[in-house]
């Protein structure tokens, strides 16, 4: 589904991603872990087309298409979704109106008919239950005045409505209390299907107790320095990142 080859990215002349290789197939759940500031969010932003980052080398293929050729909205319509680490507040833009516009763009792209107001309402009522989201939130402007936890839950709610092929969750667990984390994780699990994939970005293993990944990758200093299965996450939880980083620098020395 997704194939990242030797990806290099920089911002303001600062090299951040220094050769990422990553393949994700349909039906898989991948986790990317790593200390703060190592480039995890950068990778997520590059995947959804943030223009501030310059891609200096490498390639990204999504379902055989060159992702780097597509605008952010085209990527979204193709089925790439990012649950933002810091969702922005958009005063004056009603949540329901926004989400209906987004869904209809995706449907149009897929050659489906657009949903009318009634059909859309029925759909979101159903999806809201998955996230145990309060209906009143959808009457408010997008993210405006939402608590940190509500913002994160709203991201996953949007994911539930838009049904992307590849969902990237950037630190969705941070700022969530344990109950909210359970709800979000169970929502994400319910959205898992054989024909879609999930990429979880986190620097705690906590989330991975609830969403079990098939693969775990450690990102450090712009490179994936180790990949493994879920046991790697447990090992990181126990031993921290330092041993890996030392191992890595021993290798490159």
């Amino acid at each position: 589904m997704l194939e990242i080859r030797n990806l290099h990215a920089e911002i303001e002349g600062k090299k951040i991603l220094k050769g990422i290789d990553l393949t994700i197939n349909a039906g898989e759940v991948h986790a990317i872990m790593g200390p703060n500031g190592t480039g995890k969010s950068t990778l997520a932003q590059v995947l959804v087309g943030r223009e501030e980052y310059a891609i200096t080398e490498g390639q990204i293929l999504f379902q055989g298409k060159d992702l780097l050729e597509l605008d952010p909205e085209e990527r979204a319509r193709e089925g790439v979704f990012l649950a933002f680490q810091y969702p922005v507040e958009i005063p004056g833009v009603n949540s329901t109106y926004f989400l209906k516009a987004a869904l209809n763009e995706v449907r149009k792209h897929k050659g489906l008919t657009e949903l009318d107001a009634m059909e859309f309402l029925i759909l979101i009522k159903e999806k809201m239950k998955i996230l145990e989201l309060d209906e009143s939130l959808l009457k408010r402007p997008v993210n405006e005045g939402f608590s940190g936890g509500e913002k994160k839950r709203n991201e996953i709610f949007q994911m539930a409505v838009l049904e992307p092929k590849l969902a990237i969750l950037d630190e969705t667990d941070s700022g969530l209390d344990i109950d909210a984390l359970r709800i979000v994780a169970s929502g994400v699990n319910k959205l898992k299907r054989p024909d879609n994939a999930q990429l979880l970005i986190t620097h705690y293993q906590r989330l991975l107790n609830y969403i079990v990944p098939d693969f775990v990758h450690v990102l450090y200093n712009g490179r994936i320095i180790k990949s493994g299965d879920k046991s790697l996450a447990l090992e990181l939880e126990e031993r921290g990142y330092d041993w890996l980083i030392e191992e890595q620098s021993a290798l490159t020395r």
Binding site: E73, G92, V93
Partner: protein, 459 residues
């Protein structure tokens, strides 16, 4: 005849002064002495003040010289049809006063045909001309007219400051007809009042002087829409004055909607006076006109007053839209809030100047002013300036002005959900405008305006 020699730097006013002589003669018979006196005072203030120039601090960005050069003609020309009224009527169940080129049109209005009416709640709505003509029928003057005339005599020209503003002076000099609303104490109108001014000048530019007087007695309530509409690309000058007098505890919502023709000049002053515990909610929505200037002035003259001034201005092409607000906090424990949003495109110019005076007496004043501007083009400009003069120490006055583009973060968020760049921009611009329009509490007006904004930005 009053004559002033056109000294250097001054704009010649002879045209207007001469026109006044003609006007004065032609209305002498039909006008009572008190009205003639008001007009005379108006013209002499005008003669003294002259037209403002760019050297005048209050008019630094707004050049009115082209207005002074227009041929001065006031004329009635009826091009209105019921359909046209309906198209601009919001589908609103209301009292409606329709004026065409400054003259009242009873047949197209929605009040008693004689032009004055007492509502079931006891409010009196009418016009200056109707009050004068029905009162003149000595044998059977109507109750409304008997009530309206003394109110007009007492209040017309009382708040507006003809001695300070040349356009207020000019309007006062040429006051011919006026919309008048008088609410005796406790009277709360359930239906809003829609004052609709059409100006049409298919051949040559004309000048009109719309005038509105609202006298709200103690604890009374009303919602008033003052609405200016022109015909596409016709050039004219509409010079309006509105006086609002709120007695103790009165509540007035005043919604001014300016949709003049794209070639029109529109200069308007709203002068409000508020007594204790009164609430004024003012909206100024400015969409039309080549040049639009709004002065919105309030005196908060009692304690426990709330005064909210909302504004939205949209300008494109070479439009200039200028708002000058001035609030005088004269007494303690009053709140004022100003929220103004501007959206400027192409080579348009926006001006916002917000004056707040806090008198030594006005302790515990809470005054908040916000002016935000969105520039949609590199050639659009905004001049925004707060002007605070505070003479009391225990007050809270805040002001903030921003001039900028749409937030990139918000645009990206929308795009990342599949919404195209253009639509994302439109959605955000609409939201910025809707933030002001949403404060209007007359549902039909708010919804119509929001639809208009939607058509403008999202279609």
């Amino acid at each position: 005849m009053i004559q002033t020699a056109p000294s250097s730097g001054r704009i010649n006013t002879n045209l207007h002064l001469t026109a006044f002589d003609v006007f004065e003669r032609s209305t002498a018979e039909s006008s009572p002495h008190w009205l003639q006196a008001i007009r005379k005072a108006g013209i002499s203030h005008f003669a003294e003040l002259g037209f403002p120039t760019l050297k005048d601090e209050e008019w630094r960005y707004t050049n009115v010289a082209p207005i002074a050069k227009l041929p001065f003609r006031t004329r009635v020309e009826d091009r209105l049809s019921p359909d046209l009224i309906e198209a601009h009527g919001f589908g609103l169940d209301c009292y409606r006063l329709v004026f065409s080129n400054g003259s009242f049109l009873p047949a197209l209005s929605n009040i008693a045909l004689q032009g004055t009416e007492t509502t079931q709640e006891g409010g009196i709505i009418g016009t200056l001309s109707a009050a004068l003509s029905t009162a003149a029928k000595h044998n059977s003057p109507t109750n409304d007219a008997v009530f309206l005339l003394p109110a007009l005599r007492k209040h017309l020209g009382r708040q507006a400051r003809a001695n300070e503003n040349a356009f207020v002076a000019l309007n006062t000099a040429f006051v011919y007809d006026a919309a008048v609303i008088v609410l005796p104490g406790q009277v709360k109108l359930t239906k809003p009042i829609h004052i609709l001014h059409f100006t049409s000048s298919p051949k040559e530019p004309i000048t009109t002087f719309p005038r509105t007087l609202i006298v709200a007695g103690p604890e009374s309530e009303a919602k008033v829409i003052e609405h200016y509409v022109g015909f596409e690309a016709e050039e004219y000058f509409s010079s309006a004055v509105t006086e609002i007098d709120l007695e103790g505890g009165a509540r007035i919502e005043h919604c001014k909607l300016q949709e003049e023709s794209a070639a029109a000049f529109h200069i308007a002053t709203i002068q409000a006076h508020q007594a204790a515990r009164s609430h004024l909610l003012s909206h100024s929505i400015s969409i039309g006109a080549k040049l639009a200037r709004n002065n919105i002035n309030g005196v908060l003259d009692g304690s426990g007053i709330e005064c909210t001034l909302n504004g939205l201005y949209l300008a494109k092409g070479d439009q200039l839209v200028d708002h000058h607000t001035a609030l005088e906090h004269a007494k303690p424990h009053c709140n004022s809030h100003e929220f103004y949003h501007g959206i400027l495109n192409d080579r348009a110019t926006g001006v916002f100047n917000g004056k707040i005076f806090v008198r030594p007496d006005a302790q515990k004043t809470d005054a908040k002013q916000t002016n935000r501007n969105l520039l949609l083009s590199d050639d659009a400009t905004v001049n925004t300036k707060p002007q605070l003069e505070i003479f009391a120490d225990d007050v809270r006055c805040t002001h903030g002005a921003t001039v900028g583009q749409l937030e990139e973060e918000a645009i990206f968020y929308l795009r990342a959900r599949g919404i195209g760049l253009d639509n994302a921009r439109r959605m955000l611009v609409h939201a910025f405008a809707a933030d002001i329009v949403n404060r209007i509490t007359i549902d039909e007006v708010r919804e119509k305006l929001d639809q208009q904004l939607f058509d403008l930005f999202e279609k």
